[in-house]
Subunit: 171 residues, 2 copies
Amino acid sequence: MAETRDRILDALGALLPEVGPAGATLEAVAARAEVSKGGLLYHFGSKEALYAGFLARLEEATAGEVERMRASADHGVETFLRVSSVTDDHFTRTFLSALVLIGTPEVDAAATVARVLAAYRSAVEECVPDPVLARLVQLVGDGLYLNAMVGSLDPAEDDQVIARVVAMTHP
Amino acid sequence: MAETRDRILDALGALLPEVGPAGATLEAVAARAEVSKGGLLYHFGSKEALYAGFLARLEEATAGEVERMRASADHGVETFLRVSSVTDDHFTRTFLSALVLIGTPEVDAAATVARVLAAYRSAVEECVPDPVLARLVQLVGDGLYLNAMVGSLDPAEDDQVIARVVAMTHP
DNA sequence: GATGCTGTACCGTCCAGCCGGTACAGTAGT
DNA sequence: ACTACTGTACCGGCTGGACGGTACAGCATC
């Protein structure tokens, strides 16, 4: 069942920011997903496959997020920056987990993250004509992600920054 | 000798972005530093101590970088953003290595990175009166770091973004 | 000959992956 | 309808290898 698979991937995503890749052993992931280690290995034949599945789901989710941006009323800039600055969002948490995965030998998380960033970038470019400004928007969003990763968000100030950037994109 | 110590830390810094924390075994670090494992453990009694030493040196280097910013002719904003967007800088590489360390159980790299970001932030705030604009500058810099980590820098465009941001900080 | 440092051999632990097994559907032939 | 068989989902013990850390012997230089 795909349901168990998703539960396993959710468990991995929950574990990664807490204990890092080193602590995310197959047994730990299995326990968190309430599956035995054997059961986990039935769905994902190796740790590499597990990580690959996780990153694949992130890329799928990215497509959905980008769609949500495009569909947002005025334009996607604010939607984009809001997601970047909120840590209790499912997508943000998944993305941060992927960042933690960078450097693990089993999988090339950096490449996946790069693709995610690229997808966002082209989406921002769609609604911000000036390419330099579009890149600036994206960089601010990425900066928010980095700060979220190390727990350095400053909600009050960041809200004002977002407002300022949004204003810049309005002629 | 402090020279050997530094060589070991350099080896760790060189290894981390290449193979990640999992690949940075004591033996691998020792080999890269052209020291035996025993020699490494003479200087750093444990892996935790090795990581701690690495992060401590990063914090020291941060102080130096911030000083360089303060001393820069016009103001530090451009100096800051330039460093963030150049991957062959020693400090940048060390910083990126520390990012890869986030999530390892031996050491709290996130806290160190947070302190580094905070140091930069207060330095930027010194030369940019408007706090919102200062935070924006810092977020752009952090975004550049994140993009550097996954190899998504776009030098041509990023140069223009830096110029734009610098212009914004000039009244 | 003491001190600072190096190299090596070894131990204990931990973990990924394997494998033999269980349960429980279907499903088909009778 | 029951029996025999097959595939899917899952379990948990085992093992081989890797890695962190220890012990100890060697070797400069002072």
